[in-house]
Amino acid sequence: MDKLILDIAALIAMSTPLLLATLGILIGERAGVINLSVDGSLLLAGMVGFGVAFTTQSVIYGFFAAALVGATVALLIGYLGITLRLSQTAVGFVFALLCTDLSSFLGNPYVQQSGPAVPAWAIPILTDIPLLGPILFRHDVVIYAGLVLIPLIAWFLERSRPGLIVRGVGERPEALYARGIDVVRVRYAAVIVGGALIGLAGAAYTLDLKQGWTYRHMAGTGWIALAIVIFGAWKSYRIAFGCYLYAALQTVASRMQVNDWEIPTQVLQVSPFVVMIVVLAVVNSLSTPTVQAWLQTVPAPVRRLFTYVTSPAPASLGKPFDPAG
């Protein structure tokens, strides 16, 4: 039992950077902007965050710098994608590659250095609650922040009026423009805030979870994050669930590696990716006409369940908006 509790607590801790990144992507995509640079942004922000913290010996400055890097990359993507109306996919992809290489190049002095890290801090009183205490309240500030952000962002997007406007801009920008909203400004704000969150996620790796910097430290995570947002159907809670599921799969895979199974370790290492791909394929196939036609033949409760699982992407995701036409 104690072991299970520890496992769950570890799961929450190890999911946090991924969670922050997915929430950052979520905010931008809900406004209709894809920040495809996440994989590179994470590395660059993580490297800069570690470098700044290493130089100043201040974790706070490190996180601040990382957020700034993430926001700056998002601003550039916003300028190219929103203002110049270039393909967000192409722009994001280029930035993903550029930031990855930039992090390796600029991060050279910090490789394998030991620097400051976020101190653990159990929340007094709450930590003594049986079961919940050890699972939720014996981590550090970054992890608490991640946990708080899930309901906070859900509330902002689904319940608040500014969130309504963000979603509207991602669904049908022309309609929001006709309602007097500055679509361009909303999109910039969303993608920049999201970018800052992605930057914080990078620092959460280098200053908290994986403590330290090395070449292509957590490369690949950004792509997983992008996939989890689709898996989570652009909804905060389901995205969080996706992050925990992914971390759980990874843990199971590494445990199985230890046991003396006759499965090559490579198979286990890539298995979370395979599971993600299968899940994505299933979730997306549910919105195809064939499956929709089949759904008409099944009982209503089953149909409702499937409809819940297949909520569609923001209708104007990745589409540039031109007020003049």
Binding site: R161, L164, I165, R167, G168, E171, R172, E174, A175, L176, Y177, A178, R179, G180, I181, D182, P289, A293, P312, A315, P323, A324
Partner: protein, 484 residues
């Protein structure tokens, strides 16, 4: 709100959409704005709503000149617009749709004022319903309430009666009268004369981007308005039901079953004679589109055989042309101009641009298309797009299949389309079309096929049918006697 427009001008490239327009709209009245397709009505309204900026001219509200140019500014001075296809967000609920937008000073809480207006105007909207699940008519009602809540004083409605039911039109008219009686100004844009006659206090007519004559108080004699809308060409509008004589057989259907996701019907055994105009009548979605697609060879029958010009029809053919209702998606390539469309049709790979250009200029003259050869077709008005599609049908076409050939077009444009089709028919082509407008079916067809309840009637001679008789058949009354 009294609005004055002075010397307004707006051009898109070489096409002048509004030229030196000066007009006043007094408060507390419903003002009709009439004009054929492409007359510049929508452009003028979009300038007022801040969607477009005028090139020249002034707009004054209650004597004070205002600067529009963005919907936000228009909303702030109290101008709101309900588009033909309302600009709303399908996944949002009605209340969310109303809440998403700028908040103006003095605006009252949305939920309460929604209930208030919903009952005052007699709408029966459920605030929690999703926009994607309600009808176009209801979406208009939502937009009207939204503008009332944002405090609009000038309401612009652009062709609001297209695609909504008769009951919804009545509810809309009552609501607009209520709004006008409350001292607000309503601009009602349409190309339907009757609506202006029943609803409006004044009428202004636009033609070719200019205001014809002065704004006039209703009632105005029908002929006078027609004269203003169409000018000299008005004389051209005359009923001419050309009788064509069957000349051999084009299609021979034997025991054909057809189906798609919505509908399945058959067996159909019939022949369609050449050189005629054949109308397909029926409630929408009774299988007319499916039937047309089979005649075009775009879909193959589930069983049975379709013989076209003595050969089995297995694929679309060069001489069998289908004009779909969805012009922009299926009919033309929106970003290409007429020259490029002509080039696409050339059977010789080495056709020169110069020949195509000459041909395009010829087509523009022959079919009275308001465009330059180099204008992308997406910039043309609906009537001009339809004429362009007709113009592009090669002379070698034996048959022309059309869905809703004149939907959304004004009387003059519709008449011009039919003149062209009748010319084609006189030269030996066969025309098969389906239209929701029974008058159109009766007026132009030589023969009629009626679709009802999953089956198709015999070929009926149009001379023996009245519009009332056809309406009964479509509803199934007496259908058994004409069924196969």
């Amino acid at each position: 709100m009294h609005i004055s427009i002075r010397n307004l001008r707006k051009a898109f490239g070489p096409v002048v959409a509004n030229n030196d327009i000066s007009v006043d709209f007094a408060a507390g009245q419903i003002h009709g704005i009439l004009g054929e397709n492409g007359a510049g009505k929508s452009t003028l309204m979009k300038i007022l709503a801040g969607m477009y900026s005028a090139d020249r001219g002034d707009i004054a509200i209650d004597g004070r000149i205002v600067l529009l140019g963005a919907p936000k500014r228009a909303l702030q001075v109290g101008i709101g617009m309900v588009g033909q296809d309302p600009l709303d967000i399908p996944v949002f609920t009605i209340l969310e749709n109303i809440s998403a937008g700028i908040r103006l000073a003095g605006q009252i809480p949305v939920a309460e004022s929604f209930d208030h207006w919903n009952s005052v105007l007699g709408f029966e909207l459920d605030p929690r319903a999703h926009i994607g699940h309600i009808t176009v008519g209801q979406r208009q009602q939502v937009e009207i309430i939204r503008l009332l809540i944002t405090g609009s004083q000038l309401f612009i409605l652009d062709e609001p009666t297209t695609g909504i039911t008769a009951a919804q039109i009545d509810a809309l008219f009552v609501a607009l009268r209520t709004i006008a009686n409350a001292g607000k100004t309503v601009l009602f844009v349409t190309h339907k004369l009757d609506e202006v006659a029943t609803l409006c206090d004044t009428v202004s007519v636009l033609r070719g981007g200019i205001l014809v004559g002065e704004q006039a108080q209703m009632p105005v004699p029908r002929e006078q308005i027609l004269q203003a809308m169409f000018g000299e060409r008005n004389a051209l509008i005359a009923t001419q039901s050309g009788q064509h004589h069957p000349n051999g057989t084009v299609w021979k259907l034997t025991d054909v079953f057809m189906h798609d996701a919505q509908i399945a019907f058959g067996p159909i055994t019939t022949t369609i004679a050449a050189g005629q105009i054949v109308g397909l009548a029926g409630l929408e979605g009774s299988g007319q589109t499916l039937f047309l697609r089979h005649l075009a060879g775009m879909q193959l029958p589930h069983s049975g055989s379709i013989v076209f010009a003595d050969t089995p029809l297995r694929a679309p053919r060069y001489d069998n042309v289908f004009l779909p209702a969805d012009r922009l998606h299926e009919g033309i390539i929106p970003s290409m101009n007429l020259v490029e469309h002509v080039q696409l049709l050339h059977r010789h790979l080495l056709a020169t641009g110069q020949t195509s250009r000459e041909k395009a200029i010829q087509l523009i003259a022959d079919y009275n298309i308001k465009a330059t050869p180099d204008m992308p077709l997406q910039l043309l008005s609906g009537g001009n797009q339809q004429r362009a599609m007709l113009a592009l049908i090669p002379d070698t076409a034996r048959v022309i299949l059309l869905e809703h050939p004149t939907r959304g077009l004004d009387a003059y444009s519709a008449e011009a389309i039919w003149q062209r089709l009748q010319e084609r028919c006189a030269r030996g082509a066969t025309v098969v079309f389906f239209s929701a407008d029974l008058e159109e079916v009766i007026r132009y067809s030589d023969a009629v096929l009626v679709f009802f309840g999953g089956s198709v009637s015999r070929v009926l001679d149009c001379d023996a049918l009245s519009e009332q008789a056809l309406a009964r058949l479509i509803g199934g009354v007496g259908f058994a006697e004409v069924a196969q």
